[in-house]
């Protein structure tokens, strides 16, 4: 009865081997490497870069372990740090030119760490766990995205799009913005119907409700809920892409940019401790807006500082001095910009930035510039929330998809502006709501503390279990070891981020997983005490303990899943490890340990005794037995005898 079919043993062996394969990369540690990433958005990193790096290294007689393109950067791994530093200097000089200005260099060449595990392991996805910042040091930011602002912007664009359309159709209704809605008021029923048709055709994502207002017809348009969700998702996505672009130039290894919850973004930069600098870099915002200049007399007075800013206008400082009054309505914004490149001014000596608009931006700029030839428009650059007019050219002719901003002071300036515009506008402003900087020494310290906790706790359990349950204790600790192996393997396989709370969860899960073994071992002792034959006792012990193990693990799992569902950051990392640990413990404590027992005892037909420690048979327990208590029921002898009979029946089946 204590035999496993061959496939179960095969499964055990496979599980252990797979566990080893996926756990081992964590033990190799990290090796020095040089990382080459793009410092500018124009720089393309790819297989060409790999060939170039290989050539440069072999020219300098440096032998790397490997050079590979991973994600967005190229890594070259080296045997020791001396070679690494030498290689860094060679590559920096070779790729960027010997005396390149560090700020203008196309490539970021930085010292870094990569996994030391052999390459073939990486190819089967056996990679070490990613270490959280509390274990490796670095900065962590949590950014709150202001989605309301993103929607506001979207509504403002919708408003101007609607006005443009109405003008185009020569309907000329009154268009106003009311909160999150755009209200279009027609004076006649026919035009209203005509207008509604045009509006629903042009803006399928807007919900229109029509209400009569006296003789007028009022059409109220709001974005459909699906469109709202889409707009918010797009805003977050664009912000994340922008952040990724800004962080890329830092050359930090494995930066993390993740969405958290509905409207938050987590940014983690390992190896950097300077929060102020990092915050500056990722908080740098540059958006572009094109406005029409207000050239009325009031506006000129306001610009000269002698009058108030007219209603519906905004005042921005001009880069060359003074103020400029523009109409608040945005003609096109950075959202509609698909590319920005520096270039030479064809007519005059000087630099320009060539802009390419997307189709929507192009059609707007085409119409607006056509209507306003001879007037001036202003290009306003918003950086860190402050607007500045870069240039306010006069519209010479109708503009098209491509047009240029002239008046740059130098090539370098054109270069910078193009980069800023291209590295993308944030779709919505963001605010730092959490930031943590962890020093590298603290990280190493935390790893040591976590490992010591697990190791000593495991050792204590091992000693106790072996002393108390003898061979069954050895089997229990072996299966607990397999549990640890499989847990680490699964965590590595799904590439979780390991944090200190995660290590604590490993320790706690192991401490709790031993429960299943204790349940089984106690049950076997109990069966032996009741007089069962050893083979029957083993079989009954495992079978009867199983229901209890399942029940108790499910309740623990419920707690773990709740933590996972509602936790974030450290709590979530704790919960993932905890839940996975419970699942692996069911495998190891029941299936695996049974397999070991079967292997040892299953073949012995006439098993006289099992090594499970002393089984005390001093008093066969009788439930409710001879406890002297007056109101106690005297149990008929049938009680225990029947129980044994039932059990044997159960075993005979």
């Amino acid at each position: 009865m204590n035999r496993y079919p061959v496939w179960k043993f095969v499964l055990m062996v496979v599980a252990v081997l797979a566990g080893l394969l996926y756990t081992v990369p964590n033990l190799y540690g990290e090796a020095p490497a040089v990382q080459i990433s793009a410092a500018k958005l124009t720089t393309k990193i790819g297989s060409d870069t790999v060939t170039k790096v290989e050539q440069l290294l072999s020219a300098a007689n440096i032998k790397p372990d490997y050079v590979a393109f991973e994600g967005t950067s190229v890594h070259a791994r080296f045997a020791d740090t001396d070679t690494q530093i030498h290689a860094r200097d060679v590559l920096a000089a070779g790729l960027n030119g010997a005396n390149a200005d560090p700020d203008a260099a196309p490539y970021a060449v930085s010292l870094n760490l990569v996994a030391r595990a052999p390459r073939w392991m990486t190819s089967v996805h056996a990679m070490p766990m990613y270490l959280g910042l509390d274990l490796r040091g670095g900065v962590h930011f949590l950014l709150q995205v202001d989605l309301k602002a993103a929607l506001d912007k979207k509504n403002a664009t919708l408003y101007s799009d609607i006005r443009a359309l109405m003008r185009e159709k020569s309907l000329r209704p009154a268009v106003t913005r009311e909160g999150n809605a755009v209200v279009v008021t027609f004076h006649e029923q026919d035009t209203a119907t005509q207008g509604l048709n045009a509006l629903t055709d042009a803006f399928p994502y807007v919900q229109w409700t029509s209400t009569p207002d006296g003789t007028d017809v009022k059409l109220t348009g709001t974005l459909k809920p699906a469109e709202l969700v889409k707009a918010q998702d797009e805003a977050i996505q664009q912000n994340m892409t922008t952040l990724a672009n800004r962080v890329a130039g830092l050359g930090t290894s494995e930066p993390v940019i993740q969405k958290q919850g509905a409207d938050r973004i987590v940014v983690e930069l390992p190896g950097i401790q300077d929060t102020a600098k990092a915050r500056d870099l990722i908080g740098r915002t540059a958006t572009l807006e094109v406005h029409m200049l207000d050239e009325s007399a009031e506006a000129s007075a306001a610009a000269a500082g002698t009058g108030p800013v007219p209603f519906g206008d905004s005042k921005y400082p001009y880069r060359d001095g003074g103020d400029i009054i523009v109409k608040s309505e945005v003609v096109v914004s950075g959202d509609d910009l698909s590319d920005a490149q520096p270039g030479q001014d064809q007519q005059r000596a000087g630099a320009v930035v060539n802009l390419t608009m997307n189709s929507k931006g192009a059609s707007i700029i085409h119409t607006v510039s056509g209507d306003n030839i001879g007037k001036r428009m202003a290009i306003v650059l918003f950086e860190k929330g402050k607007g500045q007019v870069i240039t306010a050219p006069t519209i010479q002719s109708q503009l098209d998809k491509r047009f240029e901003i002239t008046g740059m002071h130098s090539i370098a300036e054109a270069n910078d502006l193009a980069l800023l515009l291209r590295s993308g506008a944030l779709a919505a402003p963001m605010e730092f709501i959490e930031e943590t900087a962890i020093g590298p020494s603290l990280g190493a310290d935390n790893i040591a503390k976590g490992l010591h906790s697990v190791a000593w706790g495991f050792a204590a359990i091992l000693v106790f279990m072996c002393a108390y349950y003898l061979l069954f204790g050895v089997i229990s600790t072996l299966s607990l070891g397999v549990n640890l192996l499989m847990l680490v393997a699964v965590l590595s396989l799904i590439q979780t981020t390991l944090t200190l709370p995660g290590i604590a969860a490993i320790a706690l899960t192991l401490g709790m997983a031993i429960d299943a073994n204790v349940l089984v071992n106690e049950r076997i002792r109990e069966e032996l005490r009741a007089g069962s034959a050893p083979q029957t006792a083993i079989s009954a012990g495992y079978e009867r303990a199983w229901a209890t193990i399942l029940d108790s693990n499910i309740t623990t799992l419920i707690a773990g899943l709740s933590l996972f569902g509602f936790g974030s950051g450290a709590v979530r990392s704790f919960a993932i490890v905890h839940c996975l640990g419970i699942l692996t413990s069911m495998f190891s404590a029941v299936f695996f340990s049974r397999g070991l027992v079967n292997l040892w005892y299953g073949r012995q037909k006439k098993l006289k005794s099992v090594l499970i420690g002393q089984v005390w048979k001093g008093g066969a327990k009788q439930p409710g037995g001879d406890v002297p208590q007056p109101d106690d029921l005297v149990v008929e002898d049938g009680g225990a005898a029947k129980a044994v009979a039932t059990k044997q029946r159960g075993a005979a089946r």
């Binding site: 943590t436 439930p623 409710g624």
Partner: protein
């Protein structure tokens, strides 16, 4: 080796009232401290700034308090963290102060007090990774104080964490109650939850009484303990059900006594093993895991007490009966009055 040589069932339930009075008193004391003292929430919950620094020499806390109080941040806490060389400075959020500047200002003040100047240091670690960090260098080019960690949490995050913590707690309670009601019976599900929530309150009571810092990891620990103690009650309930099935003549009280007695050895050994692991975290885990391990220790100790003495007693008082658990006519049931029972053909 066998620790538990129990000749007969221990009449636990006869003393159920006493046990429950003891636990009710502990519970009330915990509630009292929670109400009067409240929890000492970490900045993860309250929002604020924490700066952790290491001194080359033993840190003089009194002197540091003076240094930091000049910054005008209000009620600033300066404490040792782990060793006597490590200090943690906690600054609450205060209107009119730009939180983002706090870590660098505090570090500057600490550095100045050691007559050093703040700069940025870029160094390559022995392993070959480049790190840049703010540093404090004095005239002798030594670093008298090193910034180990700084943490800044906006006030809005904390409220959300508290809310999520409460949701997590509620979903654990509801989930476990549903499962137990489905797997056993509603009386057991109420008994288990009452007993184990009382553990949770007692853990929180300890944290309130000693004003230990209640952080996110402690919350995780508390919820993990909740799951763990319920699993304790489940083992006993499982045995109660089994005893009801096997011994038909026993009263409910005797069944419970028998169930507890026959699982007591497993209860103690399991908790002992888990506690060894937790103790290891308490000893080796350092200050970050200290209160986590503390919460677990209290939870494990009271978990044994409440599942053994409280949960079963509540189930008993709720009037759990054989019929609740043993469904007549179900498979494997044997009627003792049936003359053919147990006969194998």
């Amino acid at each position: 080796m066998e620790f538990f040589r129990i000749r007969r069932d221990i009449p636990f339930m006869r003393h159920a009232l006493v046990f429950n009075i003891v636990s009710a008193l502990t519970f009330l004391a915990a509630v009292f401290f929670l109400v009067t003292r409240g929890l000492n929430f970490s900045i993860e919950f309250t929002g604020g700034t924490a700066v952790e620094a290491t001194y080359a020499q033993t840190a003089n806390l009194e002197h540091l308090r003076g240094v930091v109080s000049h910054l005008g941040y209000g009620d600033v806490q300066v404490q040792n963290y782990g060793t006597s060389h490590d200090v943690i400075i906690r600054v609450p959020t205060k209107a009119g102060i730009d939180q983002k500047q706090v870590p660098s200002h505090v570090f500057e003040a600490l550095c100045k007090a050691e007559s050093g100047t703040v700069g940025t240091k870029t160094e390559t670690t022995a392993k070959g990774e480049v790190v840049t960090r703010p540093s404090c260098v004095d005239a002798a080019k030594a670093e008298p104080v090193v910034l180990k960690r700084s943490e800044l949490v906006g006030p809005s995050v904390g409220d959300e964490l508290k809310r999520d913590g409460a949701y997590a707690m509620i979903s654990v309670v509801v989930g476990i109650m549903l499962y137990l009601a489905f797997r056993f019976e509603w009386k057991f599900s109420i008994a288990a939850i009452v007993a184990n929530l009382h553990d949770v309150v007692i853990i929180l009571g300890f944290f309130a009484f000693f004003q230990w810092e209640f952080g996110l990891s402690v919350l995780a620990g508390v919820l993990a303990v909740l799951g763990y103690s319920v699993n304790e009650s489940v083992v006993i309930f499982d045995r109660i059900r089994e005893t009801f099935r096997r011994f038909r003549k026993l009263t409910t009280m005797q069944v419970i006594d028998h169930a507890i007695t026959s699982t007591i050895s497993r209860t103690i050994i399991t908790h002992f093993c888990t506690q060894m692991m937790v103790l290891s975290m308490l000893i080796f885990g350092g200050p970050t895991l200290h209160y986590f391990a503390m919460a677990l220790t209290i939870g494990i100790c009271f978990g044994i007490y409440s599942s053994v003495f409280v949960a079963a007693a509540i189930a008993m008082w709720l009037g759990v009966k054989r019929e609740d658990l043993v469904h007549t006519g179900g498979k494997g049931e044997i009627d003792p009055n049936d003359p053919n029972a147990g006969a194998v053909v």
